[in-house]
């Protein structure tokens, strides 16, 4: 029987471990399941570290092997439901509720298990929202974390993909919880200390290094001309007009196209030094040509990227490096840098006629990750910039109180595939709401937060729309040959175009025959390696030469 008092329970658990394992923080990997069963009590809140890149795979595997008679009713909380074991915990009867931000590859199975009642969802969050709640009402009883290296005192080196570790460790260590870490290597010689040992209760050397997903590597060979057209329109209609200095790009190919056009088309548009100087971004390989061309002053890294280690280490002025020379990323701070930026440019799976968007579909509960923090009008911003004021002048024209405005750009192709339009009359999020038992639909970015929608057909500036009807027609007016686009009011769309609210390529002086892959600063992964002077070391699956 465990005490209701959190600190007393912690003391009790530590005594149990000491009795079974003796003193010291190092737990042998072979006895991990037995150990986890001693520190987890029924009903505990378990925070497991794992996000869209680094995976706490060893501890996940061992957690799923626990005896559900001993440990059950766990409240699981994690940034990303990224591993099959996370959902095995529910099928095995060990966990019953999950709070998360992103479900990526497990999104389909999650929807199924929620549908049949195996998984209960506490809430879908953004990353910083979830982390913030770990310090308030979701304080962890146990946090299972991930490190590159650890020493016997529990000091950790978390390396390029530090990401959430500091925030999770702090929430648990200062919240009466127990901190357990899987480390790739136990060593006496840490290259730097990212987390001090006194925050860490136990370390386990995992038999193999944790998996790291190269999520932000986009092969330039896959960027086609429709994406280049969209990128050119976005750069001319938005980047050149507002001159955003601080920005975040999403993970897709559309923004990768912009990154690869900065040294060519961006230079032609006069953006260098005037826009895109500071970024909240993982080290995207497609940023290498822009960095080498002198566009970039600094990048606040949310995470790392496999293969970019040596290149990043060669740019101490641009990337946040430790005294040891390796990257230190931080998801919470990186997300905040993006939250307070001038502009977010991202994509989504579905947009409705009012500009609401979601990546949640009827059969995939994908979650949102960081997009809602990056891609939301920021009502708490007070510092000013040219882009913020220019966008604010459009959005708040004629109002009594002058205000700035964040640029939130949704850049989408009108179709995801031949029979799957991106623009839909009604988001599938409404169906997901019913399946998951939510009170309101899980929307990623609300329409009134979006400043621009860009498609192959053109750019819609929603800041200039004065009524909800205008916003609807502005969205329909760029929705192309989707059913939503075909239902446009042609007279209203023509009027919006006359007023510059909708701009087509020809309105922007972009000829379709100028839209060419020849404009990309790099047209293959191999080109990126050349731009990096051989320092970028792409994962083998991206090597085709």
């Amino acid at each position: 029987m465990s005490s209701p008092d959190k600190v007393a329970r912690r003391t009790e658990k530590l005594a149990r471990v000491a009795k079974a394992f003796g003193p010291g923080k190092v737990i042998p990997a072979a006895r991990t399941v037995e150990f986890l069963e001693l520190i987890l009590s029924p009903g505990d809140r378990l925070v497991h570290e794992g996000d869209n890149q680094k995976q706490g795979d060893f501890l996940a595997e061992k957690l799923a092997q626990m005896d559900p008679k001993k440990v059950h009713g766990l409240k699981l909380a994690l940034s990303c439901i990224g591993l099959p074991e996370h959902l095995d915990l529910f099928e095995n009867g060990i966990a019953e509720v999950v709070d998360f931000a992103y479900a990526g590859p497990q999104g389909g199975r999650l929807a199924e298990l929620v549908g049949n009642g195996t998984v209960k969802i506490g809430a879908v969050h953004t990353y910083v929202e979830l982390i913030a709640r770990y310090f308030a009402e979701l304080r962890p009883d146990v946090a299972c974390l991930v490190a590159v290296d650890a020493d016997a005192e529990g000091n950790l080196y978390t390396g390029s993909n530090t990401e959430e570790t500091p925030a999770l460790a702090e929430a648990a260590a200062f919240g009466g919880g127990i901190v357990v870490v899987q480390a790739n290597t136990l060593t006496d010689n840490l290259r730097r200390i990212d987390i001090p040992g006194e925050w860490v209760d136990f370390v386990i050397e995992s038999p193999k290094p944790f998996h790291l997903e190269p999520l932000f590597t986009k092969d330039p060979a896959l960027i086609d001309e429709t994406r280049i057209l969209m990128a050119m329109m976005t750069m001319k209609a938005i980047y050149q007009k507002y001159l955003p200095k601080v920005l975040n790009h999403g993970v897709g190919f559309n923004t990768a196209a912009i990154e690869l056009l900065l040294p060519t088309y961006g230079e032609e548009l006069g953006l260098k030094g005037k826009a895109c100087t500071h970024w909240a971004l993982n080290p995207h390989p497609t940023m290498i040509p822009a960095i080498e061309s002198g566009f970039v002053e600094a990048i606040a890294c949310i995470g790392g990227e496999v293969g970019m280690e040596d290149y990043v280490a060669s740019k101490p002025d641009i990337f946040p490096l430790g005294h040891d020379g390796s990257l230190r990323s931080n998801r919470f701070y990186g997300q905040m840098a993006g939250h307070y930026a001038d502009m977010f440019v991202g994509a989504t799976l579905q947009i409705d006629p009012f500009g609401n968007s979601s990546t949640v579909t009827a059969d995939r509960l994908a979650g949102f990750g960081g997009a809602p923090n990056f891609g939301a009008e920021n009502r708490s911003r007070r510092h000013l910039s040219e882009a913020y004021l220019r966008a604010g002048a459009e959005a708040h024209q004629g109002e009594f109180m002058p205000q700035g405005r964040k640029l939130v750009v949704q850049m989408v192709e009108t179709f995801q595939s031949a029979n799957t339009p991106t623009f839909v009359e009604r988001l599938e999020a409404w169906e997901a709401m019913k399946t998951a038992g939510f009170a309101i639909p899980p929307v990623m970015i609300y329409g009134d937060d979006v400043s621009h929608v860009v498609t192959e057909e053109g750019v819609a500036n929603l800041l200039l729309c004065r009524t909800i009807e205008e916003r609807e027609q502005a969205v329909r007016g760029v929705a192309g040959f989707t059913p939503v686009g075909l239902k446009r009011d042609r007279t209203m769309v023509a009027n919006l175009r006359d007023r510059g609210i909708i701009q087509r390529a020809e309105d922007l002086g972009i000829r379709k025959s100028d839209v060419s892959r020849d404009r990309l600063a790099a047209r293959s992964i191999h080109d990126l390696v050349r731009w990096s002077g051989g320092l970028y070391n792409p994962p083998s699956r991206f090597r085709n030469w």
């Binding site: 086609d224 429709t226 057209l229 009108t414 179709f415 595939s417 192309g480 040959f481 000829r511 025959s513």
Partner: protein
């Protein structure tokens, strides 16, 4: 394979470049090739489409009508080899071929 033919009233722009033809795109998955040739059609424009994706006649009509409205071509024959391209790609290729001729 499906063959579609469309003929519409053209707009105000006859091809001026003097070129015998212009080509845009390639026949590859999700892509298409458009060959544009000046031809005396009494002010009309003609489209001969060979496509691997059958049953999309309405979509072709919508994309072609939009193209004519935007670019106003006349007296041109467009010969199209389509490998299941989505409408925005068709639009882009028509524009590119026309720009090569106008």
């Amino acid at each position: 394979m499906e063959h579609l033919s469309f003929e519409f009233d053209g707009g105000v722009h006859a091809p001026k470049s003097g070129k015998a033809y212009a080509v845009a795109g390639v026949v590859a998955s999700s892509n298409l090739e458009v060959l544009a040739q000046p031809q005396e059609l009494g002010g009309r424009v003609r489209f001969e489409v060979d496509t691997t994706a059958a049953h999309f006649q309405d979509a072709w009509r919508a994309v072609i009508t939009d193209f004519i409205e935007r670019r106003q071509p006349r007296d041109v024959l467009f010969s199209i080899n389509d490998f299941a391209a989505i409408p925005p790609v068709v639009s882009l290729r028509l524009d590119q071929a026309w720009e090569g001729l106008e």
